[in-house]
Symmetry: C2
Subunit: 261 residues, 2 copies
């Protein structure tokens, strides 16, 4: 009964784990939140690559059969990187595919961390799917701390979002990718601010579908018993445990342990 591994720099990746659990209720999951070294979003590719290797090695040590890199910043350095013998899934490709499907001819907006924007990973993934696509990227360094402060529904967050959305709206985007796994928590606010005609894409769901398809096709062995969720973090902070449980609800956390990385 080997689990599927999922990791993120913090607890934001639990939005992806929740989407995975929704489509794969039988599967056991092991989550690693690298909370001692978060955020990844302001760090260099060299450091992020280093963390990627360590995190995958930690999960492989626990015998996982696949790893979902539920972190856009870490997904942005996956390309061409030799990391592991087991299947690795990033969140950028599925998000790009959903955006291309939603607006075949239009402009695509991307909200992400500074590092993800600087990596140009979304633009490259979108261009591979449609060489004509226009991409408007906006770095949003304040959104993660706002989510972690628990201010998702707050006038301050709305004011910050209005600032970050000004350029994508001015460019008439037809689809808007939430390019950080913390951002799905803000999806309803973003959707309200941009209006119903812009499709707001959170890559958690699309990534979960890719993994489900690979299980169905036999590219990853299936589990048959009902599996639980084990969480490891590289640091213990009560605030993160509360927020983590809120994000994962209604799925319970079987255990929460410290990972020494």
């Amino acid at each position: 009964m080997t689990a599927i591994g999922v990791f993120d720099s913090g607890i934001g990746g639990l939005t992806v784990l929740r989407a995975l659990k929704q489509v794969l209720p039988e599967e056991p999951f092991i989550y690693l939140g690298d909370t001692a070294r978060l955020p990844y979003g302001s760090k260099s590719p060299r450091t992020i690559r280093n963390y990627l290797h360590q995190n995958v090695a930690f999960l492989e040590g626990l015998g996982v059969k696949a790893v979902v890199v539920a972190c856009n910043t870490a997904s942005s350095v996956l390309d061409g990187e030799k990391v592991s013998g087991i299947p690795l899934y990033g969140v950028i490709e599925p998000g790009a595919r959903a955006a291309t499907a939603a607006c075949p001819g239009g402009v695509v907006g991307v909200l992400a961390t500074r590092a993800t924007v600087a990596s140009d990973a979304y633009r490259q993934a979108l261009m591979r799917l449609n060489p004509e696509v226009q991409v408007v990227s906006q770095a949003c360094p304040l959104l993660v701390p706002l989510v972690e402060e628990g201010w998702a529904d707050d006038p301050v967050t709305e004011m910050v979002l209005q600032r970050y959305l000004a350029e994508p709206l001015h460019a008439n985007v037809a689809a808007l990718i939430l390019g950080c796994t913390h951002y799905p928590v803000l999806k309803h606010v973003v959707q309200r601010l941009v209006g119903p005609h812009i499709q707001v894409i959170d890559s958690a769901q699309t990534t979960a579908q890719v993994v489900r398809d690979d299980l169905a096709a036999g590219r990853i062995p299936k589990s048959t018993n009902s599996g639980g969720i084990k969480v490891f973090t590289t640091d213990m902070s009560p605030a993160f445990r509360d927020l983590g449980a809120r994000i994962l609800a209604p799925y319970p956390i079987e255990s929460w342990s410290l990972a020494d990385l």
Copy 2:
């Protein structure tokens, strides 16, 4: 010609280095910004202690004669900790002393990171100086990212500060300690929001005076030639270099190198 070492989780501690350079222009300084692992403010005491030891060891390896822990979160775990044979200076004690001097009988407010507030270090330092003191602490997790976004003078920052200042103002504080080395960048906004009757204390200056007194008293050997500033960071990010140079101005940075911690 051994230098004085200064470290912080990021570039905020450069406000302390700047204050040190102002009163000790002859001294050479080596600064370590642990940007790969910032922020410390949301991490556990165990992890922060671990980082403290590694950072001091790195600076000792470069031959420094003293270390200024220019980080409130790391200073909050200094007490009773066996770290090094050379003198170590935290920023909490000097800030507490300045606040006690400013308002001998009044209520003291402390703005700080979550970890510093949870450590109770300011309350304990203030109580040692005046057992009757009343302390109102406010965790302000959004202020560091706002400073790093370059939004010091911005309506969003003002709105966030008004939220964080509500409780200290309601408690009628007579002095307000800026308990994080990033916050001096916001000092003028805070002073404007709280009005002229509340003394806003930034511990950079008071810490610099303690170090200068120890040099004058011969507890640390003096340097006689004019010394420069060398900066090491554990990660390279262009945004931090720009902000770092702005904080340190008019003092130039002699070199900026990567520290592999």
